[in-house]
Subunit: 210 residues, 2 copies
DNA sequence: ATCCTTCCCTAACAAGTGTTTGGTAGGTTA
DNA sequence: TAACCTACCAAACACTTGTTAGGGAAGGAT
């Protein structure tokens, strides 16, 4: 069911974000380890190992293990919503909006692969805690954006009306974001190419038209 | 067609598996907690709490926490492959095989929701450990079944040839199994109904045909 | 009445957890 | 030169983790 392309943890080969200073480097390393092993399964000693320092030294840069996770997720979500908002602000038609959202999503996966993987794994549990309330907020905004686009498309007659819209929403949402679990930046396909193929499947299906 | 293979109705309120005796009850409870919080994040004391006994008492029934996970996953996979194999043995056409596999998958999600969720979350990490080598085996069989069906369909001209088959495989696979993260048995839709709608989207797309 | 099986409890163990404290080497600034 | 800041280490802290050992209550079988 799931792929098993485990990548050995290296010290500095992260293709991740342009990190400002040491703090950013450590965050990128932590994100990589979190994504690979899960948040709770990851010990601060493991992060320190991967970063080349001792566990206690991490606390010079961060308050706690949880605050690392917090900063990783909130940074990602800020950038995600910057992209989404500019798409939504363009007020395109439903189909064009969907296409733009999907493409933007794959670009985010390309840039924040680790953060997306962490989000996928842990968001459901974390959303309950007060500190991570913004995750639940984000989920609601997310649903409004996608579900609204789908409903508008059904009303305009560009999306099929014989489908459960809510089911279609989860379908589209999941198909896009689970890609973070197998996607590796610098692979065979660019984010835009993957988005194009995904959109082709979601919009027109994989069956030959008769 | 409907398998009324006389499954003994347990007196517990869990809609999960038919549990033989106390051991099965405990396994079902553990699966529920694992699915909710993740395996490593779950303490044996938490499982014991949910089951109404003390942590140490679990070790009368099981060797270790890991063996609980093992039994949950292997039991699920055994049943999954029983279903898949009978589908594959029927040697239907590519499209019919795909439909049958998807439908069977949603039935498995319906019956083993917790186990599927655990599998989704942890399989990637576990597959490396020798004890869970069967997870990697299962992944390979899985890929062969789905990818083979898709390739056969392309060769037969029933599936589109202009798509990356490997991408399509991951697309179909993921769309089906991530449903375990939101599906709740006894909800508005039956497994068969969800399968029908998913298949409609995967095969024909969500866009209106022009 | 005795034995045996099933099931659980109490109490502890060693290892690992996130985190704190005090110290220090090296570069930058005053 | 002296003071200061950055980035780290070494060593410990209180706590939680999975797990074990020994014992006992209930009930059916002999």
């Amino acid at each position: 069911m799931t792929d098993n392309e485990s990548v050995p943890i290296s010290k500095k080969t992260t293709t991740e974000k342009p990190a400002p200073g040491r703090r950013g480097e450590l965050l990128a390393t932590a994100a990589e380890v979190f994504a690979e092993q899960g948040y709770t399964a990851t010990t601060v000693r493991r992060i320190a190992d991967a970063a080349g320092l001792l566990a206690g030294s991490l606390y010079y840069h961060f308050d706690s293990k949880e605050s690392m996770l917090d900063e990783i997720l909130s940074t990602f979500l800020d950038e995600l919503w910057a992209g989404y908002d500019s798409v939504l602000a363009a007020r395109l038609g439903p189909r064009e909006t969907l296409e733009a959202l999907v493409t933007e999503s794959f670009r985010e996966i390309d840039r924040h692969r680790a953060a997306v993987a962490i989000y996928q794994r842990e968001a459901k549990d974390l959303a309950g805690r007060p500190r991570f309330a913004y995750l639940a907020d984000s989920q609601r905004r997310f649903e409004r954006a996608w579900l609204g686009t789908l409903e508008r498309g059904v009303a305009d007659g560009v999306f099929r009306a014989d489908l459960d819209v809510r089911l279609a929403y989860r379908f589209v949402r999941d198909t896009v974001w689970v890609a973070a679990s197998w996607y590796r930046p610098g692979g065979a396909h660019s984010p835009e190419e993957i988005a194009r193929q995904y959109l082709s499947m979601v919009l027109d299906g994989i069956a030959v038209r008769t």
